[in-house]
Every structure is written in structure tokens, then in C-alpha cells.
Symmetry: D2
């Protein structure tokens, strides 16, 4: 089984191409498809306490794993269609977040960064 991101992207693209599904994969449609998968993940945890959400039965673990996979696949497709380098984008965003959430202010706090800026 493939273990690289590049191989996964190529596999997904081939899957879509074989089925002639590019025609349905506009960014708008893919954004909808991705949030639907994200919601299927949310559904698994909606009635859980925070503590319970760490504890998955094997059955739930497999389902959660499928929802994560589906979200990931659509995320990769959107990036593909829009020619956005997801790894580059994530690395760039972390640099930005590091500025918005400096360690000394953010440590142990779940406040939004705008709270620091107000002060």
C-alpha cells in the first residue's frame, strides 16, 4: 500500500479520471462534498463527552477512519483542481499562526487571537 502523499494524489486523480468525474469536480461542488464528510465525522462525536470522544470501539474507529479518509480525498481534490500545493499552504499557514499565537500569550489558553489584539 502506498505511503506517500504524491502517490495518493496520483491514485485519486486516476480514480476520478477513469470514472469521467472531473466534470462534477468544480471547487464549489468539492467544497460541499468535503464539508459533508467533515459533518459525518462530527456526527460520530455529537453526543459524546470530551473524554468519551477519545474512546472508540473498533467499529466506530473504522467508521471514523473512513470519514477522515473521505475528507482527505476531497481536500486533495480541491487542492488539485485549484493547483494549490497543500503541503506548502499548510507550512505557510503554520508560520502565520505562530505570529498570531505567540507562545507566551497563547500558552494554555483557548482564546481567539483577536482577544490579544484587543488588549
Amino acid at each position: 500500500m502506498s505511503d506517500s502523499l504524491a502517490e495518493l494524489r496520483a491514485k485519486i486523480n486516476a480514480f476520478v479520471h477513469e470514472r469521467d468525474w472531473e466534470q462534477f469536480h468544480s471547487p464549489k461542488n468539492l467544497a460541499m462534498a468535503m464539508i459533508v464528510e467533515a459533518a459525518e465525522l462530527v456526527e460520530h462525536f455529537q453526543w459524546d463527552t470530551l473524554e468519551d470522544s477519545y474512546q472508540l470501539t473498533p467499529e466506530k474507529r473504522e467508521q471514523v477512519s473512513h470519514e477522515l479518509a473521505d475528507t482527505f480525498v476531497y481536500l486533495l481534490r480541491i487542492a488539485e483542481v485549484l493547483k494549490i500545493d497543500l503541503l506548502h499552504a499548510a507550512n505557510a499557514k503554520i508560520l502565520l499562526s505562530a505570529k498570531k499565537y505567540p507562545v507566551d500569550k497563547a500558552r494554555g489558553s483557548n482564546a481567539k487571537y483577536t482577544k490579544y489584539q484587543e488588549k
Copy 2:
């Protein structure tokens, strides 16, 4: 800038750890955070036609890139916290989808696979 998934995961984990944010990163909370980011992506396309959604101004392109990055970061965090191998999960899911959507039936169709099973 890092270009591997393993490096990105390590970088995100360090970012979270430095801020002592693991305490907030229950699967339940992370699933909520991820769908919020997915929705910020949806917002960019909500009034677009399908055709327009391919056309991004440089400003919108950068914002979309940030939303994809944020979604990706939370996706990686959920996988991390639950010890789910995202690449493995995605590859396994594609095999499943290939069975649910055989090329001869799915080609050019946006019908849900349950439609084939009804027939």
C-alpha cells in the same frame, strides 16, 4: 520549507505542544474546529456559479489556500490524537470506493452508489 507529510505532522505537533494546547484537542473539539474551517472554504464559493468557482482572484486564492491549510492541519491533528494513519486510511478507502463505484457503472454519472444497488 518542508515538503513531506511526516515533517508537517511533526511541525504541527510541536506547535500545539509549545502552546500546551493538547488539553483542548479532544477528537470532539477537533472535529468541530475542522468543520468550521471547511465551512470557511464553502463560504468562498457559496454565491459562485460552478464555472466561477474555478476562477480565483489572487486575493481569494490566498484565502482559499489558508482555509485548505487550516482544514488539513485539523485533519492531521485528529488523526494524530486518534492514532489513525491518514495515508493508510485514504488508500484503504479508495479500494472500497472502487468496489462501490465500478468504472462501467459509475462512468460519467454522479449518482450515489446506492442507486446501483437498488437496480
Copy 3:
């Protein structure tokens, strides 16, 4: 200030019509707009414990109130565009749910109804 649902619907319809926004209000677009508002609500609670989510500062209370209002407005618009009677639909759904979740089995349980059916 109006206190009836019918008046609210009429007011929203007039608001949309004055701005010539019916052209953007396809069910697809409205469904996207509604989930974006639902996510803005989720964002307010994403790092809260369950207990904390009951406690709103006046500022947060006002913001939450706005997100609920926005979700409601789009919900009413979708129903309007598709000519679905929301009150009727909700009443009908409650009857269905009462069958899916009989009191004796559902009492005090957060299990999905499919769990009963498996037994």
C-alpha cells in the same frame, strides 16, 4: 417587532426581493449559506466544555443570537424557494422520530435508533 413566523417570512422575502437577490438563492447556494452560518455557531462552542457552553457572556450571547438568526433566515429561504412548509415538515418529522425513538427504549440513551433495530 413582528412576532409571527408568517410575518418574518414575508419580511425576509421582501428584503431579498428589494435587493434582487432571488437570482442567487438557488437551493444549492442557500444550503451552502446555511451551513456556513451553522458553522459560525459551532465556532463559538468549539473549545468549550459541555458545561461552559451553557454560560455565555453578554457579548457571546449576542453573537450566538446572530448566528441562530442567520441560520433561521436561510432555513426559511430554502423552504420558501422549494415551497416546503417548515412547520408542517417539522411536525411530520417529530411523528416519525417518535416511532424511531420509542420512549421505553430511548429514555436516557444517546444511541442512534439503528442500534435498536439491530437487536
Copy 4:
């Protein structure tokens, strides 16, 4: 069948109370449940063109009606638990939106109001 909002709220509250489900209905959990329902609506339209999304088969119409109902029920529950008057909130929000989107600037435009403020 009830046709008033107040009766619907009372019916939902009774439904929840009979099943002793108030314990699960924290604002956080309800916000998750509501977005899951909103996503089930999105799913119905994700591969549709804008035009197609107006055209529902009787079967799809019924399903869409159920998703709208479910979203509505959770919306009412959140408002109930937080003691927010949904009709009041919606009417207040429309007044705010009327200021953010003055007819002369917003007519026929799908731009976000922040676009006006930039000018």
C-alpha cells in the same frame, strides 16, 4: 397538525423531556447536531447544477423536507436551551442586515458587505 411556532416548540420540548434527553442537549452538542443536519441537506445538492437544485423528485423532496425539519428542530432546541427568542433574534438581524446591505449598493450584487466598506 399544529401550525404555530409556539406549539411546535412545546411539542419538541415534550419529546425531549419524555426521553430524558435534556442531559445531552448542551449548546455545544446541539450545535454539532444541527450542523450535521445542515450537511445532510448540502449532500442532496452537492453534485447538482444550480438549476437542477430547484428540481426535486418526489423522493428527494421528501428527504430534503426531513433535513429542513431536523435542522429546524435543533435550531429551536438551541434557542430554547439558551433562552434566545428566535423570532426576535431574526427580526433584529434583518434590521442589521438592512444597514449592512443598503438597497442601492446591494441590488443585484452578491458581494459581501465588507466590499462596500472598503470603498
